[in-house]
């Protein structure tokens, strides 16, 4: 049995959703390519789940169109759309065995018995649950339930797979493991997949492209690397990973003044009185006194395993700066709370945002 699925292309145009006066989604424009895994990432209440439910047809958009493949699905009820969905709770039917759960959608479309049996078997093999067929969901572990939900969603070979926080109900270890498994399965099948998550690590490690959302708008769409290295807005910069923000003013298109120090930046900035300079803690250089641009003092050090997050108070600047150093450099610098240090901010790592 051929297990690959022809993933479909999904195009959203100017999708909006209002709940009374509240605008939950504004001007959502997005194209998901066939076979792509896209993550909707954002804080709770940003509209990512609403958008997923609109794609599924479980909510009706207030305006805009949705196209899946060649078909306009804007006004189709969920049953006439082509997707499989896995919810955070899995919503497995507790009164049915694993096989019956997986076969549920196949029976809906009137597949012959023999074909159903073969398809269910193939799916069970695919998710590695061949020995659990007669069990009920309550008899399975969380991770196993998750796989059954996935197999059930994939059973009718949908062109689109929707995952609503599929891993958030699981322990950290199982989650790590399933991340890789889902990604591998998705690649192998070639099914277009949209995953909603609030976990940035999950989004960055699994997605082909990440859609960062906030307050009902898309802040940025890009590969995990783009999102991390070239955040398009201060929100994205702050939401993904750790980021230091320093208030400053533009001197010219390549120079910014923060406190009484001037820094050069690579990307040209609009000349403005107020803007915001941002740098990731791992991009700040920590140097012995006298060798950097700006003197400071170590306030606190948190050992986070592979690196040490150091809080530095810069001279003449109120907000403290986070700097990540590896333990070896820390030893060489003789870092300790109260120690004097010097920092430099490399131009290529500096981001500029409107304040």
């Amino acid at each position: 049995m051929n297990q690959t699925i022809q993933g479909s292309r999904l195009a959203l145009r100017d999708v909006e959703k209002h709940f009374g006066d509240f605008c939950a989604l504004k001007q959502i424009d997005l194209t998901v390519e066939p076979g792509e895994l896209v993550c909707f990432l954002g804080p709770s209440g940003c509209g990512k789940t609403t958008l997923l439910r609109i794609i599924a047809g479980l909510e009706q958009q207030s305006a805009g169109t949705l196209q899946q493949g060649e078909t306009d699905i804007s006004h189709k009820p969920p049953r006439e759309r082509d997707f499989g969905i896995v919810f955070q709770s899995y919503a497995l039917f507790p009164n049915m065995t694993v096989s019956d759960n997986i076969a549920y959608g196949l029976r809906s479309i009137g597949m012959p018995r023999q074909a159903i049996r073969e398809r269910v078997e193939a799916l069970l093999t695919m998710v590695g649950l061949t020995d659990q067929t007669r069990k009920y969901p309550a008899q399975l572990s969380g991770g196993q339930q998750q796989r059954v939900a996935l197999a059930r969603a994939l059973a009718p070979s949908p062109g689109l797979l929707l995952l609503d926080e599929p891993l958030s109900a699981l322990d950290a270890q199982v989650r790590q493991h399933l991340r890789g498994e889902i990604r591998q399965l998705q690649k192998q099948l070639g099914v277009t997949t949209i995953m909603v998550t609030h976990d940035q690590e999950e989004a960055l490690s699994m997605a082909d492209r990440v859609v960062v959302m906030n307050n009902g708008v898309i802040e940025q769409v890009g590969t995990p690397l783009e999102i991390y290295q070239q955040p398009a807005s201060a929100f994205v910069a702050a939401f993904i990973g750790a980021m230091n923000f320093l208030d400053g003013a533009a001197l010219d298109s390549h120079r910014v003044r923060v406190g009484n120090h001037d820094f050069s930046v690579q990307t040209p900035v609009a000349e403005a009185d107020r803007l915001c300079l941002a740098i990731r803690p791992e991009d700040v250089h920590l140097l012995p006194v006298g060798q950097g641009d700006w003197d400071g003092r170590v306030l606190a050090m948190d050992y986070l395993g592979a690196f040490i997050r150091t809080r530095v108070q810069l001279e003449g600047l109120e907000p403290t700066l986070l700097v990540d150093v590896d333990p070896r450099s820390a030893r060489q610098l003789g870092l300790a709370p109260g120690a004097d240090v010097c920092i430099s901010l490399p131009a290529e790592a500096l981001h500029c945002f409107a304040a």
């Binding site: 969905i85 009164n95 549920y104």
Partner: protein, 571 residues
């Protein structure tokens, strides 16, 4: 191969629009129909009743003249205030006793609590006429314990309060048990860790934890007593209360408009209690969400004895009342021939409809059970599990809960006005078994509805969405998932409706016809005619039937529990 069968042919925009809006439309129409049915069964009859109260005998509008007339007759001073103080006193006694019993069951290590609980809720299986009859045998003029009355008369407020306490006790107990079983063991551990004494823990942890239950039980008991007709009918004597006053006005004197006036007076306190209870319930649901560790009572013999001391009087009282009724029904001729026989069970020799009335009751109870359970569940499903606008769901919820505020007598009288009206196309129903069934379903709709809604709310809210994504209709999800998962609740609702249909007197007393006499009404008529022993016998028959139904339902639930253990508990 799969993909091809899933492809849906593109549709023209017009067809698309229709298909989008048709499907939710169907469910909206169905729930609209549900609202319509309840409108016909609750609101329309109530409206007839209200309008009757402001009309004279010839149907002319007379404003509040009927009310003024009732006031001048002294009805307010006697019946209205009598009802209020008797209900308030019963409420205080029942809630105190039920709280003590619930404390003993949940906070001590008394043995056999399963049996004790079973015995304490027995009164729910008996018609409210039964305690009245038993009390006559115990404390009446020829009663075996007449000397205990010290010259006071059991016919009157004393009898009403005692009888009301008997049959409303299980209602209060069940509410309080639920409230107290949900206690968080960690609160008790915290109190112990903070060196609080047992007494202080009781007042700072136990009582606050049960406060919503206490308030709710108080409202429920008050409403039950003030709207009850069975107890005051049998043992009220010359002591007027609103419920018996309605009956006298309507059946005794054919003053329908005065019956309507008294009904409204009875509706007021019931509506107030209903509204207050809903407000309290709303607060409670907010406080019950936290996860808690179950409480385990400490090992403490002194405490256990205290619990036993608090339980025993109530237990003895309940068992004595039931035992007395059974004994009285078996005694050949009280108090002259105390030989036991079944002569009182030859109902065909008495007034009141004989065994035919019993059969009618059984048919009516079965009909109420089947029709009621189906109607309640289907409507609750439409409201909870299909796409409905907030307004629509709100309307339906209002219609579904309204019967809780309408006393049975008021409902029955309203049915006369509405269904017996010559211009009503439905008046063919009048005098049939069907109207008795419809009235009883309506009378007990609210509690059934709440049970069904609670069960449906517990299901994963995404079942229907998953079904849609798997191309299964809501109907298929209903029959393959929702109904199987709700079976325990369905059985509970079925039993609740059956038992109440068997035991109710208040609503149906106005509605039965020559061919639809009922067992519970027969108890009343036989008692009225002085055939007290056969009345006791019929009351016992009703109680036994309900007990049989309860056992059958218990067996079904146990079987269901075993059959579905694998998927319920993962064992």
């Amino acid at each position: 191969m799969l993909e091809s069968s899933l492809k849906v042919a593109p549709l023209s925009p017009a067809v698309q629009r229709r298909r989008t809006f048709r499907r939710p439309g169907l469910f909206t129409v169905l729930l609209g129909a549900g609202c319509g049915v309840l409108f016909l069964l609750v609101l329309a009859p109530l409206y007839s009743l209200l309008s009757k109260a402001v009309e004279n005998r010839d149907g002319e509008f007379v404003g509040l003249a009927n009310f003024t007339h009732y006031l001048q007759m002294g009805g307010i001073e006697s019946a209205f205030f009598n009802s209020l103080w008797v209900s308030a006193l019963s409420m205080v006694i029942v809630v105190s006793l039920a709280f003590m019993a619930a404390w003993a069951i949940t906070r001590t290590r008394l043995p056999w609590t399963g049996w004790i609980r079973g015995a304490l809720v027995l009164p729910i299986l008996a018609p409210s006429l039964l305690p009245g009859i038993s009390l006559v045998y115990l404390f009446g003029n020829q009663g075996i314990l007449n000397s205990w009355m010290m010259g006071a008369d059991i016919y009157g407020p004393i009898g009403i309060v005692m009888g009301s306490c008997f049959w409303t006790f299980p209602h209060a107990l069940m509410i309080l048990l639920t409230a107290m079983e949900n206690a968080d063991g960690r609160h008790y551990e915290a109190a112990t860790a903070l060196k609080a004494s047992g007494w202080r823990t009781f007042w700072t942890v136990t009582v606050p934890g049960a406060r919503y239950g206490l308030v709710s039980a108080a409202f429920v008991v008050f409403t039950l007593v003030i709207t009850d007709f069975g107890v005051p009918k049998v043992i009220g004597g010359q002591f007027d209360v609103l419920a018996t006053d309605i009956y006298k006005q309507v059946i005794g004197q054919q003053h329908f408009e005065m019956g309507a006036v008294v009904s409204i007076l009875l509706l007021l306190p019931a509506l107030l209690a209903f509204a207050a209870d809903r407000i309290v319930q709303r607060k409670q649901s907010a406080s019950l969400s936290a996860r808690s560790a179950p409480y385990k009572p400490p090992h403490n013999p002194g405490r256990d004895w205290l619990g036993a001391a608090m339980l025993t009087p109530t237990l003895v009282f309940i068992v004595a009342i039931i035992g007395m009724a059974i004994y009285a029904s078996l005694v050949t001729f009280w108090p002259y021939n105390l030989n036991l026989s079944f002569s009182n069970y030859r109902f065909d020799l008495m007034d009141g409809g004989g065994w035919g009335a019993y059969t009618n009751s059984l048919l009516m109870a079965l009909g109420t059970m089947v029709l009621g359970t189906a109607l309640v569940f289907f409507n609750a499903w439409l409201m909870e599990r299909t796409p409905q606008s907030k307004t629509m769901a709100g309307f339906f919820q209002f219609f579904a809960l309204l019967p809780l505020a309408v006393p049975g007598l008021v409902l029955g009288l309203a049915y006369i006005f509405f269904f017996n009206h010559p211009d009503n196309p439905l008046n063919g129903l009048y005098g049939t078994l069907l109207i008795l069934i419809l009235c009883t379903v309506t009378h007990f709709y609210a509690v059934s509805h709440l049970t069904a809604v609670t069960a449906l709310k517990q299901l994963d809210k995404e079942f229907e969405a998953v079904g849609e994504s798997l191309k299964a209709s809501r109907w298929r999800v209903l029959f393959t998932v929702t109904l199987p998962l709700c079976l325990p609740a369905i059985l509970d609702v079925a039993l609740y409706l059956f038992v109440n249909a068997m035991t109710t007197v208040s609503a149906v007393v106005f509605l039965y016809g020559p061919h639809t006499q009922l067992a519970s009404v027969a108890v009343m008529s036989m008692d009225e005619a002085g055939d007290i022993a056969p009345a006791a016998a019929m009351a016992v028959m009703i109680m036994l039937t309900c007990a049989g139904a309860k056992l059958l339902q218990g067996a079904l639930r146990a079987w269901l529990d075993r059959a579905t253990r694998a998927w319920r508990r993962g064992a």
